[in-house]
Point group: none
Chain length 252, copies 2
DNA sequence: AGAGTACATGCATAAACGTGCAGCAACGTG
DNA sequence: CACGTTGCTGCACGTTTATGCATGTACTCT
């Protein structure tokens, strides 16, 4: 078996089973644990999985969901969220994607801001209940469990009936070559549809997203208005701006 | 099982059940309590849970809030909820109304039950995320802040596209004369629409609802299949059965 | 106030890890 | 064909990490 073939096999298994154990894989494929570890290390460096003691877990799925909650980069997330919240004009209509970073945007919103929020995330909708002056429109459809957002034909159809000024897009990877990526094809399509309903689309990229890539592309970098990162300098940011991509804050 | 995987499992369980007991988890996962305690200590340090004597509770105020509201009237609500959950056949399609009682129904559902749940409550949808085999369809529309459910023309239109076996209706009043009532006209209309999409409609009536009445009628008593109350005897129940209304449990 | 349980800490063991090194095959070049 | 280069692989070594047990302490409940 070729090395590249083996790595692809690892990713497939990872997606199917939710986790990989180095020892088991070594026995199963008839090679040493060292090679498996090397593969996993390289895949993790490419942002395609997350290395843990004993094996690996998916980069975007379950673990990232919960770990991102607050523990990974709370400061980075909050900086990005407040940058985004500042872009929302009173009276405007904004589409909020699902995810913990967009949830942080809601928490960064003034409690009395009068605006219209459209979302396909029940979690975001629930978080907006205390914002008395915010009109909330929830896009229905089949619930995609992994990210807790609605996806599929019904959700896309509902999305086609709306229009907004802004869309804050959450992704799992922002990569100079692979563009904006996420871990599920259906979810990627939904995000693409939402981007088409807003005049401007901004990507929310907390530190750990920069330079990472997942399996499915949402959009190329050129299709968004800008990327909101936090203020820390970064070689990935340099590579992005080098391609003519707008990265906010230009400086902070 | 990988250590990282195990911690993720702990967080999932915590979200689903509202609390964790170290001793139970150790027995269940086949590892020592020391390891569980170490995990909980680390998760708490990361801000993902709150450590308490004997186990852990969620750090998120939202989840704690639900847990608290559940503990306000746990007995009556839980009895009603488990009665309702028992009516859901594997493979069937059920519509769940919003509210804390229907939320208790979700918590009373077996985690591996395979069924389809349709709801207009983002809270209910979010609570169903851990139920891997439950298909969830969320009805979109304008979010009605008071009850945290979607209402209005768009929601009604979405509801008209679906059909279900069961509908569990939550109301604020069940009265022998005034029938089934709630506090908002738009919400009442939505509930009425949902009732029209299901073959059978059951009302969830925890103790404090019986004999109460609100401003707007949802349906007359004759329009529903039955009322699920808890087992305690009650003169309102007597009045209802006297009108030929089915009250479950007929006998418990 | 006392019993019982949960807890933190230190320690020992075993597993997993990273690194450096050597063997080997595939490939390109002269 | 000969040769050197490159990349992949497995092994050996020392290091780090996770785990379970034992001890003494802190807490809760009766």
């Amino acid at each position: 078996m070729l090395a590249a073939e083996r790595r692809d096999h690892l990713l497939t298994r990872l997606q199917a089973e939710g986790s990989l154990v180095a020892k088991e894989l070594a026995a199963e494929l008839g090679i040493s644990e060292d090679s498996i570890r090397r593969d996993l290390r390289d895949l993790a460096a490419a942002g395609l999985c997350h290395r843990v003691y004993g094996g690996a877990v998916p980069a975007s799925p379950a673990l990232a969901d919960y770990a991102n909650r607050e523990s990974v980069e709370p400061d980075s997330k909050r900086r990005v969220a407040s940058q985004a919240a500042a872009l929302i004009q009173p009276g405007s209509t904004v589409i909020l994607d699902g995810g913990t970073t967009t949830l942080a945007v809601v928490q960064a919103l003034p409690a009395d801001l009068g605006c219209t929020v459209i979302t396909h995330s029940p979690t975001i909708a629930a978080a907006l209940v205390p914002h008395a002056r915010a009109e909330v429109f929830l896009l229905g459809g089949r619930l995609f469990k992994h990210s807790a957002v609605t996806c599929g034909a019904a959700a896309a159809e509902a999305a086609n009936g709306i229009a907004a000024d802004l869309f804050f897009l959450g992704v799992t990877g922002v990569h100079p070559v692979h563009g904006l990526t996420t871990g599920d094809a259906d979810e990627a399509a939904m995000k693409r549809t939402l981007a088409g309903r807003a005049a401007d689309t901004y990507v929310l990229a907390s530190t750990e997203k920069l330079g990472a890539a997942s399996r499915y592309q949402v959009l190329p970098l050129s299709a968004v208005t800008g990327i909101i990162a936090d203020g820390t300098p970064n070689e990935t940011v340099a590579a992005l701006t080098g391609q003519g991509v707008t990265v906010l804050p230009l400086q902070a």
